[in-house]
């Protein structure tokens, strides 16, 4: 008879989830399931809304990555309105976007995932959090962490009004230009973020890479996945967050596909699982073969490691050097280690800071030509961005009077859902034996979803109810009786 271990809720992530681990009669792990118990329903209730409200409405899918949804939506509207943003508007959008990546990646490393390394995976649970990190690194560093996370948010606030749920994206441009005063403030912050990102990479090297126990975990081949990798790239196949074609590479690192976001339906599809509210995406050309890896399985990974694997480098010098160091250390590309996501994230943190600084010192950034209003209306539009945690697709159909007719969203964590479930299962199998578990050991299982920085709030934007229920109501709406299957 099998016994089970339940972790509920899983913690230090964005949103809800629980893990069910099944043990056989010898206490070995038969299987483990990461279930997402939450749903909301954006794709349906956005129907009938004004198109221009979509960047605000969909930003409420996620308050951790609102900027990603805001600009995926804005880009979908650009496409549906048949308009390109002005050069200034595009630069402003990129600047706000890199500010968002700075904030989100710092949040994950210091508040969510990093405490497992900085404080230790089996440290007492009261210490495995930002407070434990503060204790460990000291108040001076803690203040730097708080300051630079705040800088990322402040960049969004200057350019987008609100730090969480900004309001700046409109079809063809931005609502607001950047003043010279604001530009100077952002330049100072971005400069400081470059130094802080370098400091954080050094901290990772000292705390993680120089710790043989951590390296053994990171380099354990059983704790990695050989799946496809996906990410947006620029014309030279370097990582790109705001715009560019989507590139997919295979288990050998060879290009498998490179497509425009608007063609996403030709390349990816979604599979429905009956034990989680979140679907699993896969490459259409390969097909869904279950939660398995290898070249015959259509599963792919997105997010920091997926992006670095799917690209040939980074577009700024410091980040590119960090990129090369990561791959040289592993001596392989793609890197399959799930825990390497943390390192990849910090390489991207440096890139985001360096790119933000480039944009903040671009003489065109304070231009006032922020709107292109020459619309050439189309019935639909697709917008794609790289959210901090992976590729994000928004697809809308619009009526002639620019109201929403239908919505399809494929979010980063849905793209990663299959691999996340697999990583948790493989970690449980590798770490739990003879039925022996402890708080620290179960936390180590959690580390294998945490590495992905999943956002269950994003993934649970859909909503549903699995049983058929018939409500019998009086004419005034009061429920008289409910029949459920």
């Amino acid at each position: 008879m099998s016994t089970r271990i339940t972790i509920d809720p899983i913690t230090r992530l964005e949103g809800h989830g629980k893990i069910e681990i099944f043990l056989d009669d010898k206490g070995e792990v038969e299987n483990a399931y990461l279930q997402v118990p939450e749903l909301r329903g954006f794709e349906q209730f956005c129907v009938g809304r004004k198109a221009e409200d979509m960047p605000q409405l969909t930003s409420r899918i996620c308050g951790v990555c609102p900027v990603a949804h805001h600009y995926a939506a804005t880009k979908a509207l650009d496409a549906a309105f048949g308009v390109q943003p002005t050069e200034t508007a595009r630069k402003l959008r990129e600047l706000i976007y890199h500010g968002y990546i700075i904030y989100d990646h710092i949040l994950h490393f210091y508040f969510l995932g990093g405490p497992d390394f900085v404080v230790g995976p089996d440290a007492p649970k009261e210490k495995r959090n930002i407070l434990g990190v503060i204790e460990k690194v000291g108040m001076e560093t803690a203040r730097e962490v708080i300051k630079h996370r705040a800088y990322g948010q402040r960049i969004t606030e200057i350019l987008g009004g609100k730090p969480t749920h900004p309001v700046s994206g409109v079809p063809g441009g931005q609502t607001k230009a950047l003043s010279e005063e604001g530009r100077k403030e952002i330049e100072t912050m971005a400069r400081s973020c470059v130094d802080f990102a370098k400091f954080t990479l050094q901290l990772f090297e000292d705390v993680v890479l120089k710790n043989p126990a951590y390296m053994a975990l990171i380099q354990n081949p059983k704790l990695g996945l050989a799946v496809y990798n996906m990410g947006m790239v620029d014309e030279q196949n370097r990582v790109s967050f705001y715009d560019g074609p989507v590139r997919v590479t295979d288990q050998q690192g060879k290009e498998f596909a490179r497509f425009n976001g608007s063609d996403y339906l030709d390349y990816i599809a979604e599979h429905v699982l009956d034990w989680s509210y979140v679907k699993a995406t896969y490459l259409k050309a390969i097909g869904y073969k279950g939660l398995v890896d290898g070249p015959d399985s259509g599963l792919y990974r997105v997010g920091p490691l997926g992006r670095l694997n799917a690209a040939d480098g980074m577009a700024t010098p410091g980040a590119d050097a960090a990129y090369r160091k990561l791959f040289a250390t592993f001596g392989a590309k793609p890197v399959n280690s799930t825990l390497a996501y943390h390192w990849a994230r910090l390489v991207e943190l440096l890139y985001a800071a360096e790119r933000a600084l480039e944009l903040a010192t671009d003489p065109g950034i304070t231009g006032t030509d922020i709107r292109n209003m020459k619309f050439d209306m189309k019935p639909e539009g697709v917008g794609v961005v790289e959210a901090a945690r992976g590729t994000l697709f928004h697809h809308y159909r619009l009526t002639e009077d620019r109201m929403i007719e239908s919505v399809n969203l494929i979010v980063a964590t849905t793209n990663n859902n299959g691999p996340i479930c697999m990583s948790v299962r493989e970690a449980a199998k590798e770490l739990i034996h003879k039925g022996k578990v402890s708080d620290g050991l179960l936390n180590m299982v959690e580390m294998f979803f945490r590495a992905y920085d999943p956002c269950m709030a994003c993934a649970s934007h859909v909503l549903g109810r699995p049983t058929v229920v018939i409500d019998i109501r009086r004419r005034d709406g009061e429920l008289v009786r409910q029949l459920a299957s």
Partner: protein, 325 residues
């Protein structure tokens, strides 16, 4: 130094923006941590449900609860945290009024389910598989929470002591609330912890506004002047009926107020009051015309009135959410 207080933070059906708003207090969070221990906070700490269940009743001094109630797990947690806390604060627009996800109350559950799991263009699901409340996997049974038909604000499920409005709440309002808690200065139970005045009363663009609305425009149709009242530019702005105290964050982004702070105390129904406010500013030159066909024609130019006037408040509004069978 008095004993430290015990705090809890929880999220139900929410986006996580409320947790970020707490972090956005930045270094001030360190002052809060000097005066309070946080016992439960899933986004940042490893306390599990079992640990909360093991606490004595009324163990936590204050629990800040964000998100609305959408499923059985969230309702259970609302009851559990009510029992374990002396003071329960509905934190943010979702817990307060249902917020934007409350617009889901316009649709039937089955409609949504069908769309998401079978009709979406990227879904391949020939067997019509759907997630199951009681599911079977080869190793045994797994369960998911029961999903409710509607989004409910927190006070429809448990007794709420205070409300912190906003999507997400503005940092100065969070800090005001913390100060009131630490100084034992909270107002009477049931209070909304924010100013009673409307946004218009504090809006920088309202200084010289004549409050005339010549026409109704959509934001993409014009390039809004960042110095002029939105209503005067023909853009619907919820400022006249919405509680202030947000710091004019959207206005500063050159976007009209969409109403996230909820109605002022005297307004009551935010949407209904806004419709009458619009009727009185539209073409206000001609007093006789307020209820006339011209005004009506202009009002009809407001697309998606429910989504516009009840963007945050539908789940808590006096109007019916959708036609019941």
């Amino acid at each position: 130094m008095p004993d430290k207080l015990k705090f809890g933070f929880y999220w139900a059906a929410s986006c996580g923006g409320c947790e970020i708003a707490v972090l956005d207090t930045n270094e001030k969070i360190l002052d809060v941590l000097e005066r309070a221990d946080i016992l439960f906070w899933p986004v940042a700490m490893d306390t599990k449900y079992a640990d909360v269940k093991a606490m004595p009743d009324r163990f936590m001094d204050v629990c800040f609860f964000n998100g609305s109630i959408r499923n059985s797990e969230q309702e259970e947690l609302a009851h559990l945290l009510r029992k374990k806390s002396k003071v329960l604060v509905a934190f943010g627009s979702c817990a307060h009024h249902g917020c934007i996800p409350g617009l889901a109350n316009l649709f039937g559950r089955e409609q949504i389910l069908k769309h998401v799991y079978t009709e979406e263009p990227s879904v391949v699901n020939p067997d019509g598989t759907r997630p199951l409340v009681k599911g079977k996997v080869p190793e045994g049974e797994v369960s998911l929470p029961e999903f409710y038909d509607r989004v409910s604000p927190l006070n429809r499920v448990v007794d709420v002591d205070y409300y912190l409005p906003g999507c997400p709440p503005a940092v100065p309002r969070i800090l005001d609330a913390m100060t009131a808690i630490f100084e034992g200065n909270l107002p009477a139970k049931g209070a909304v912890l924010g100013p009673a005045k409307a946004l218009c009363d504090e809006c920088d663009r309202n200084k010289n506004a004549a409050k005339k609305m010549p026409d109704v425009k959509r934001v993409w149709e014009i390039q809004a002047d960042p110095g002029v009242c939105f209503l005067e530019q023909g853009i619907v702005c919820m400022g006249p009926v919405t509680r202030g105290g947000c710091g004019q964050r959207c206005i500063n982004g050159n976007w009209p107020c969409t109403g996230c702070m909820g109605p002022t105390p005297e307004v009551g129904d935010q949407g209904g009051k806004m419709i009458s406010a619009l009727a009185s500013v539209l073409r206000v030159d001609d007093e006789k015309d307020i209820t006339g066909p011209e005004t009506e024609k202009l009002l009809a130019k407001v697309k998606d009135p429910v989504g516009t006037f009840y963007m945050y408040g539908l789940a808590d509004a006096t109007i019916s959410n959708r036609r019941q069978k």
